[in-house]
Symmetry: C2
Subunit: 310 residues, 2 copies
């Protein structure tokens, strides 16, 4: 509905780009797509919507980066469950009059990442309007034989880990990050992941999700938080330290997870990952978020001070 000639052409173009896929008995061109799921009991589904002026601005973001990000944030959610992505559908509100090349670049950004992780683009809804660009992607996936890793399985005594380096993502990483699908699958094979999520709201805010869902407390080690070069740069541009950026900046899209002390020792001795892996704290009884300072003192994690910045 509300489909003008430009959209008809674009839909035809998308259809042409969408290759046949063994998991898609029926792809673009009918009222719905039909998917063949390998395992019926383990269908993961997640949706994320990106809006111009909120999740990106143009420039600096290119249409290819926006397409990449729109799928990547969804794949990051599937990674957070230690799942495998299978398929995605895309809905799009394009600013009227935008060049056809723009939409093609957007889809190319989606397509490259989809190919990299074997994700079948199963369908979509392409519209145009007078408003800003909006793109919503729903990704479908499956769990491995080891099941999904939720936010609710952290236990007192667990070690808390994070992949990569944190902070300053808005300077660029948020547009071109690689979702940690492969890392999550490797970790899931190697150790017993008790709780996991992807860092999207910021380390402190996301850790709070684990605290609430698992009914536990946490103590973060101040000196163990891996601070990214981008966080250092950001600190030079405002009144917050690089550490504060690492703790509270959003959109890192790294994995935050907890494992037993035994598994922690194994991971530190022999990490299965090619990216940094840092032990940043400990799960404890209670429901508090605390910080072990570099001097060894345990104080309340001053989250509320940063909450307004999220």
């Amino acid at each position: 509905m509300n489909t003008g000639r430009h959209e008809f052409e674009l839909i035809a173009w998308i259809r042409q780009q969408t290759r046949a896929h063994e998991r898609i008995p029926l792809g673009i061109g009918d009222d719905t797509a039909a998917l063949a799921f390998p395992n019926p009991a383990n269908c993961l589904v997640t949706v994320d919507m990106l809006m111009e002026g909120v999740h990106f601005t143009m420039p600096p973001a290119t249409p290819r980066q926006i397409g990449h990000k729109a799928l990547a944030v969804n794949l990051s959610d599937i990674a957070a469950m230690a799942g495998r992505p299978l398929a995605a559908v895309i809905s799009l509100a394009l600013p009227r009059g935008i060049p056809a090349k723009f939409a093609e670049e957007l889809y190319a950004g989606i397509g490259e990442l989809a190919d990299q992780f074997g994700v079948a683009i199963a369908g979509g809804d392409t519209n145009s309007w007078q408003g800003p660009l909006v793109i919503s992607i729903t990704a479908l996936g499956e769990t491995t034989d080891r099941g999904a890793v939720t936010r609710s399985g952290a236990r007192p005594g667990d070690a808390i880990f994070v992949t990569g380096e944190l902070g300053g993502s808005l300077a660029g990483k948020h547009l071109d990050f690689t979702p940690r699908i492969n890392e999550a699958l490797k970790l899931h094979e190697t150790v017993d992941l008790h709780a996991m999520l992807d860092v999207s709201d910021g380390l402190a805010a996301d850790l709070q999700h684990i605290v609430e869902e698992s009914g536990v407390g946490v103590i973060l080690d101040e000196s163990a938080i891996p601070i990214s070069p981008a966080a250092q740069t950001a600190a030079g541009q405002d009144d917050r330290s690089a550490w504060e950026h690492a703790l509270s900046d959003g959109e890192d899209f790294e994995l935050l997870f907890t494992v037993s002390e035994d598994d922690a020792v194994r991971l530190l001795a022999n990490s299965p990952l090619e990216i940094p892996l840092s032990r940043i704290g400990t799960v404890v009884d209670g429901n508090e978020m605390q910080l072990r300072t570099a001097a060894g003192e345990v104080i309340p994690l001053p989250v509320s001070g940063w909450k307004h910045l999220l």
Copy 2:
């Protein structure tokens, strides 16, 4: 990400509204939802995005009607495949500063229809911004044992049917229509549906989809098109006849399908539906769309004349 206090409260409210469901081992509150599909080989997926000022205006549309429509257009697509809806996820861009009551009403409109058809709301992404309201719903479903009905199965000699009455939907029906899920399932049980879709772009435009996907021609019977009272009213307000409205107005969300001549006779003798069912034409060889006039003359269907109105 980009979640302020208002959105946190809303998400908590939504979570409260979302009851446990046997098909959702993991619902709202983790990085993805997990679904248990009864039949993995037959997962239907469809997405539709509604934008303020394009698919609705407020007023006259109420938030409850917008929620209803956002899910109903997706269920209509699943009906078009003769499938059963199972679950849906929702992404939302709310105008900043809109009252919490508005979002609650929107979700109530979704929830009522979801309950009516046993659809589990599995998750979502709620955002706010300076732009107009955008809502995108992805619906998941399954086919019955008889499989999915596509647009590509029409055969020369088939009779063409449509449910309900056509035209003038924008006067109100587009906001409160009932998706033809139950009717499609009953038809699928009763006859061998060769091709089917839901009338969303308008009868002529949607029939064109069957023509193209099935590689056939069609002859519509001018006097057999079921004209709605709303099309009559619309005809009194512009320079198009009620018949033209019935042929070209969008958003009817009725079922358009083809069956063999034998099945057509059975349907006309003993319809399984409680809503009108009209035989409106015949599938023929070729690739043309033609019209049998009330006088019995066969002429090209003058689709192009209305195309700019779609």
